[in-house]
Symmetry: C2
Subunit: 458 residues, 2 copies
Amino acid sequence: METKKIFLPESEMPRQWYNIMADMPRPMEPPLHPGTCEPAGPDDLSPIFPMNLIEQEVSTERWIDIPDEVLEKYLIWRPTPLYRASNLEKYLQTPARIYYKNEGVSPAGSHKPNTAIAQAYYNKVAGTKRITTETGAGQWGSALSMCCSFFGLECKVFMVKISYNQKPYRRLMMETWGATCTPSPSTETQAGRSILEKNPDSPGSLGMAISEAVEAAVGDDQTKYSLGSVLNHVMLHQTINGLETQKQMDIAGDYPDVIIGCAGGGSNFAGHCLPYVRDKIHGKDIDIIGVEPSSCPTMTRGPFAYDFGDTVQMTPLMPMHTLGHDFVPAPIHAGGLRYHGMAPILSQLLLDKLIRAENVDQLETFQAGVTFARTEGFISAPECNHAVAMAIREALKAKEEGREKVILFNWSGHGLVDMAAYEAYLTGKLSDQPLPEDEIERALSAIAPLPKPKQYTG
Amino acid sequence: METKKIFLPESEMPRQWYNIMADMPRPMEPPLHPGTCEPAGPDDLSPIFPMNLIEQEVSTERWIDIPDEVLEKYLIWRPTPLYRASNLEKYLQTPARIYYKNEGVSPAGSHKPNTAIAQAYYNKVAGTKRITTETGAGQWGSALSMCCSFFGLECKVFMVKISYNQKPYRRLMMETWGATCTPSPSTETQAGRSILEKNPDSPGSLGMAISEAVEAAVGDDQTKYSLGSVLNHVMLHQTINGLETQKQMDIAGDYPDVIIGCAGGGSNFAGHCLPYVRDKIHGKDIDIIGVEPSSCPTMTRGPFAYDFGDTVQMTPLMPMHTLGHDFVPAPIHAGGLRYHGMAPILSQLLLDKLIRAENVDQLETFQAGVTFARTEGFISAPECNHAVAMAIREALKAKEEGREKVILFNWSGHGLVDMAAYEAYLTGKLSDQPLPEDEIERALSAIAPLPKPKQYTG
């Protein structure tokens, strides 16, 4: 019988994370202080992050040891299985060999605990008692809630209001793990109140929720803030995925021609592809594709520029592809991809043509998700369906070309808590969400007054 | 680092199911025809089941080969990992070593696909085009929907109305896999109409839904009925679990003193424990415990007697522990355990004292589930929490006794689609559901007029 899953023994789980900053062809632009527009130093970040994570944020060491306490918790679900999508291949009648890394086996159902465990641990060591964060669809908030419960930390989550209402089950997961969850914008913070004053019916956005979570952390030494994507140390922690995948692809005796991941803030895609980007820097020919929703086309439409990470301009200015910090994407079901910016690491790699970006309409992603469910069995999160859709596109292209291409994608999480989205799709109530051109022009124009990074090519 | 998960390589997955009927100390009593009360032969079952499954139902061969097509689909999630509950052990400060078999990694999130795959396959081979079934909480219905989609069969599910309303996500999983799902009692069948006539607000029960699904299958050669528990061939298919577990416990170098599973119709418990029951028959000292809700105490309160599997008396009479075929349990959240009967195989083993039974109140099960989630990470299905609660009881007993006991339990599935139940618990809205004594007396008295099996000890 053909091998379906490639497992890595626990003893083979990587003991170090990979830091792409050691290998990038051009150095990263620094974040800037939001007040002075001067490069932000560790001290500027210390009110919201513990120093051990700030050190990782700026480190250029290639390999960073994973603490034993983190490795021990990783073993709850890691190493995750690499799958051969043999049933999907047969259905598509493609000569391509399709592999997917199944990050949905974590208790939270996604890749998010890879960094949540690390961040909870480093905060614990640094003396933090309470962590605040934001969440979109709830995958990040639920992951951090679980990991805080493992290390005895309090956890407070601001959840984008539209998702809070659409996805009660993820809120309930957070509460089961002992966290408190508040719909954002809320009246609990100045940021929330000022947003509600302008628009009492605001559906919320990740940018707004970040503002609230940051504000709730500042000014209390024992409370820190945690971000589930975008930042360098988050990408670092997620590389456990790609490092495992490389070992598993070796076991399978294959090497990917194409690597695919969906990208909101960028963490699952980065974690999956960065070890392979290193191979590409060293001469390997790989097509590495980040997939975003056409209604939030950060990489495919947004310029590379300095912009705020949040809506009310509290965070440092980040050098990244951005649609403007107050862009509010259409309420698509892939809540985790509704973010105006993109991780600076991925933005830089995009600029340097080491990765590329594509966008996909909502209906195509759900069509792909249903095909995947009826062949491979697993029901994907709406975010993840963006990767599935692109893998199917590539597999059909390989069929047209008659090529035995090797396609690898990151299956970032299951959609069992997102079934309302499938209901909308199956009953014909779902539509694509065309980008409102006037809104995007307005949002993009708000970026202009800020300083431009040196490598800005726009 | 201590091993957390014991994986079995795909190459080590068992190639045969284990049939306990070859080893039982006393032979099973036969099912009886509901009209004549004479032993029911294969021909009596052929209107609803294909002959290849009927052959398995009556087989006394010890080992039955698993077809290659079934093995291939099993590989989507099997072999499943065996976990050491090290974090729970630490939290309980118990000297016991606790292991759990994680059946929640299947795409449907439970153990149910173990038999659904087999039944879909055997029906496909026998020329069936369409399968009808019933489901309680939806775990069985969703599993069968997925497996029918793999083999290109139509699937029609009657879902207990109260669960249909409480658990829309499981219905949506069924629809995503291409099945149709109807709340039961429905107006689509005579059985449903007659129940609704007496009680238009009936919340439904598994017994009623079985009546509807059987009726919908009879009279059409290309439509067959499928049952997710109770029957001998279902227990047979589920033994893949226990057979894997035995290999994994060998790898761990441990042997269980106690084995625990929750029991509704009995399939996850049987699948997990039957290979160990064989060891016990051969002299091993193991305490094997089936755990049921105190509000549906089939094994702990029901006599061993002949009774119908369904409410409107369409199925053969089965020799089993039963609360009476028209007993309607309180609407506890563990919908999959709300069944009046128990698998004849388990009923016979209980009679022969090879297994024993305990029952647990609803609140204790959810308390156990939250403890488990905050230590081991995984959120259990309400059914599964019955096993978790009993494992915790046993671990605390070991602590009192200062014994290094080895406790093994079956973690039959996750609860990510059952979060409304956790909400009720966390907000203090959940209560125990004391057994209405007058109702159970009434239901039990309805069993009396039927013939008694020879081994009936009541």
